[in-house]
Symmetry: C2
Subunit: 77 residues, 2 copies
C-alpha cells in the first residue's frame, strides 16, 4: 500500500475543494492520511523535512505537490 499524506491548515474553502482531489485517488492502492497542521503543530517539522513549503499540499511517493496556494508553512508556527 502506498501512502498519500494531505497537509492542510483548516481553511474551509480549500478543504471542500481539495477533498475532491483526495476523493479521486485510488483508495485500493493508497493509504490516505490527512494532517491538520494548524491543530497538529508538532507535525510541522516533519512536513518541512518532506519539502512542504505551503498548504494545502499532497505528499505522494516522496514527492511534494503544492496545490494552489493557501498559507506559507512559516505562518503556521
Amino acid at each position: 500500500m502506498n501512502k498519500a499524506t494531505f497537509y492542510h491548515a483548516g481553511c474551509p474553502v480549500s478543504i471542500s475543494a481539495e477533498q475532491q482531489v483526495l476523493e479521486a485517488l485510488d483508495k485500493n492502492r493508497f493509504d490516505i492520511e490527512i494532517v491538520h497542521l494548524g491543530e497538529k503543530t508538532s507535525h510541522i517539522s516533519e512536513a518541512e523535512s518532506a519539502g512542504v513549503k505551503s498548504v494545502p499540499t499532497l505528499f505522494l511517493n516522496g514527492d511534494v505537490f503544492h496545490i494552489n496556494f493557501g498559507a506559507a508553512i512559516r505562518d503556521l508556527k
Copy 2:
C-alpha cells in the same frame, strides 16, 4: 465516468513528477485526458475559461487545482 484533465506545457521535470498524481487517480472512476498546451495552443482559451492560471494544473469535477508553479498561462501564448 468523471473527467479529469491535466494541463501541462511539456517541462520534463514536472511531467515525471505530476504523472505520479495522475497515476494515483482511480482510473475506474475517472477518464483522464492530458493536454499539452505548448503543442495544442488552440486549447489555451478553453483552459483559461476553466480558470487555469498556470501549468501544471489538474482540472477535476469543475475545479482547478494548480500544482506547484510551472509557467503562467499567458507565457504560453
